[in-house]
């Protein structure tokens, strides 16, 4: 754990990403404590106030107010909750479903495998977002609809990844040995196969989480995700777009929040991928060695004539 922390400290982009994620998660959890105002409180007199550093800005509203006089900073803090909840729930639902399908396909093999993977192939070729739009339009937009529909359209990648790993792990001598000495199927799956899945599934889940955050924002922006009076960054950009000629801050800040959230997760995941992948570690090690050697040669070569 300590060694891991030290490695993260050396990778500055990864560290920045990690710190930002922790900040955002804390802000979301502690929203009622740190938000200066209720995100839905309207104030007719204080509409479209600019952020504090502008000429007409005011310390009462650090990032200004929107067209209904609601405090933007408070809305951003509460908006983090929506993004995180939707992201976590969708990844958990889709990961569980897709993972189970992949496990079943890889473990059973044969006809089960063929049928399940054909199903995956077919659904991967679906017109994703358009189909989501159609379903949401028919059933009616709400946060629950969005979560279910996003989970039902994003499970395939987990199935493919899990199946691939299960297929290769099944060939391993220790799994064959476990089957040979008469372990029950459930024991083979849970004791011997599942532990191999944690690391790749973790990385995949984190990367998928960013996609879901972006998808939630896009759906809410299009008016088919989170519905007012609930708050969401995508929703706030959508209401702010009618005011881009007079109030740039309405669109800029919520969008920036989405971008920073996704970027910090990507920076962290990038570090995580390189750190947990033995091949990548080896490459990085070789590169560092080569760099040191070049530096030493250069230093040693100062006195000599250079070719």
């Amino acid at each position: 754990m300590r060694a891991l922390a030290e490695e993260l400290w050396k990778d500055k982009p990864g560290l920045i990403g990690f710190v930002l994620i922790v900040t955002i998660v804390l802000a979301a959890i502690l929203a009622p404590l740190i938000a200066p105002y209720d995100p839905a409180t309207q104030a007719v007199v204080g509409r479209l106030k600019p952020p504090v550093w502008m000429a007409k800005g005011d310390w009462a509203h650090l990032l200004g107010t929107d067209q209904l006089g609601r405090d933007i900073l408070s809305r951003l803090i509460y908006g983090a909750r929506t993004s995180l909840i939707v992201g976590i729930l969708v990844v958990a639902l889709a990961g569980t479903f897709g993972g189970t399908i992949g496990l079943l396909a890889g473990f059973r093999g044969g006809r089960t495998d063929t049928i399940l993977m054909r199903l995956v192939d077919i659904q991967v070729a679906f017109p994703g977002l358009l189909l989501i739009l159609l379903i949401v339009a028919v059933i009616g937009p709400s946060m629950v609809t969005m979560i279910v529909v996003l989970a039902l359209t994003n499970w395939m990648i987990y199935a493919r990844v899990v199946r691939g790993i299960v297929l290769s792990v099944r060939q391993m001598p220790y799994v064959e040995a476990a089957e040979m000495i008469g372990c029950q199927q459930s024991r083979v799956i849970f004791r011997h196969i599942l532990p191999n899945l944690t690391s790749p599934l973790l990385t995949l889940g984190i990367l998928e989480f960013t996609n879901i955050v972006l998808a939630e924002a896009a759906l809410s922006f299009l008016g088919l995700g989170v519905q007012p009076p609930a708050t969401s960054w995508g929703l706030d950009v959508s209401t702010g777009k009618d005011y881009i000629f007079v109030a740039w801050w309405l669109v800029t800040f919520p969008g920036l929040c989405i971008s920073v959230t996704v970027l910090s997760i990507n920076l962290f995941a990038n570090w995580l991928r390189v750190t947990t992948d033995p091949q990548e570690r080896e490459k990085r090690f070789a590169r560092a060695r080569a760099a040191t050697r070049r530096r030493q040669e250069r230093r040693a070569g100062v006195g000599r004539e250079t070719p």
Binding site: R118, I122, F126, L134, G255
Partner: protein
């Protein structure tokens, strides 16, 4: 080749059948088209008449057979909003979407190869770091926000480009750029890591040892091997753009393509038009997938089409 395409068309048929099953279940089992499409003030008689008109009063299996029959003849009924056949509207808007996707992703592909290769020449160098961070920023930016920022900068502040709509080339620049940037970021990162991997391969050392110049190895060997994963990702980008990214970009810029029309159809409760758009895009995706496999064959003779 002919047999291969036939087989892939068969698989594509399964995809379209799957889409139609999902649409049918969503619309007829979970949803209620009469409730969505009729005004709130509709009387019970009007409701019954509408349900009879589109066959909602028939048993579900019979409805499904009729539904598939209508699909096969590309008959999606009349658009409620435009009061003319839905397919007519689709064919009118489809070229605009194809133009946007072509311009945006064409730009992204042309830029991604040199940028990614340049970054890969010195891994860990200053160009490489800027490219990687830039790439991560690019794929972390929501497209609708990027579009609005570009509008604020170029149309509202600088007043050099139009905010929205369709017209000359100047109308195409901002939407195409918005569509391109996240895709470009993904492609640059892919090309970079692939070129780094290729340049570390043994054949590169062999080629250098027998006297080839570095650029000969790069263009003649390394980049050619990068083309396969590059085309895979580029194809995926085209497909996901068609499958939905254009919806976001087109509605930000009011670009009259299929995506913007889909949102307008939803706002006007025009399910027939929406359904026609979804199927057109599903068929387009099937065709792009087949095209990709054929392109693979031409790029890499080792690949056998089966």
């Amino acid at each position: 080749m002919g047999r291969f395409i036939l087989r892939r068309l068969g698989q594509g048929f399964l995809v379209v059948l799957g889409v139609s099953l999902v649409v049918f279940v969503a619309m007829r089992v979970f949803g209620d088209p009469a409730k969505v499409m009729l005004p709130l003030s509709a009387t019970t008689e009007q409701r019954a008449e509408f349900e009879h008109l589109i066959g909602l009063d028939r048993p579900l299996p019979e409805q499904f057979v009729t539904f598939i029959g209508e699909l096969a003849t590309l008959d999606f009924g009349d658009s409620l909003w435009q009061r003319r056949p839905a397919m007519e509207v689709v064919f009118e808007r489809l070229p605009n979407t194809l133009m946007l996707v072509g311009a945006g992703l064409g730009f992204a592909m042309i830029m991604a190869l040199p940028l990614g290769a340049l970054a890969a020449l010195r891994p860990g160098g200053i160009i490489d770091r800027v490219t990687v961070i830039g790439g991560l920023v690019g794929l972390s930016t929501p497209q609708f926000w990027l579009g609005l920022l570009l509008i604020m900068l170029f149309a509202v502040q600088l007043r050099i480009l139009p905010t929205s709509g369709i017209g000359g080339v100047s109308h195409l620049i901002l939407p195409a750029l918005t569509l391109a940037l996240p895709s470009m970021a993904r492609m640059v990162l892919l090309v970079r890591s692939q070129v780094i991997d290729e340049l570390n391969q043994q054949y590169v050392k062999t080629a250098r040892a027998k006297g080839l110049r570095f650029h000969q190895v790069l263009f003649g060997h390394a980049l050619r091997n990068v083309m396969i994963p590059f085309i895979t990702l580029a194809g995926w980008e085209v497909i996901s753009a068609l499958a939905g990214y254009t919806v976001v970009v087109e509605s930000v810029f009011a670009w009259p393509g299929l995506g913007h029309t889909a949102i307008q159809a939803i706002q006007r409760n025009d399910l027939f038009l929406l359904q026609a758009i979804v199927f057109t895009v599903a068929i387009a995706i099937v065709l792009v997938n087949i095209l990709l496999d054929v392109i693979y064959k031409f790029i890499d003779p080792r690949i056998k089409l089966a």
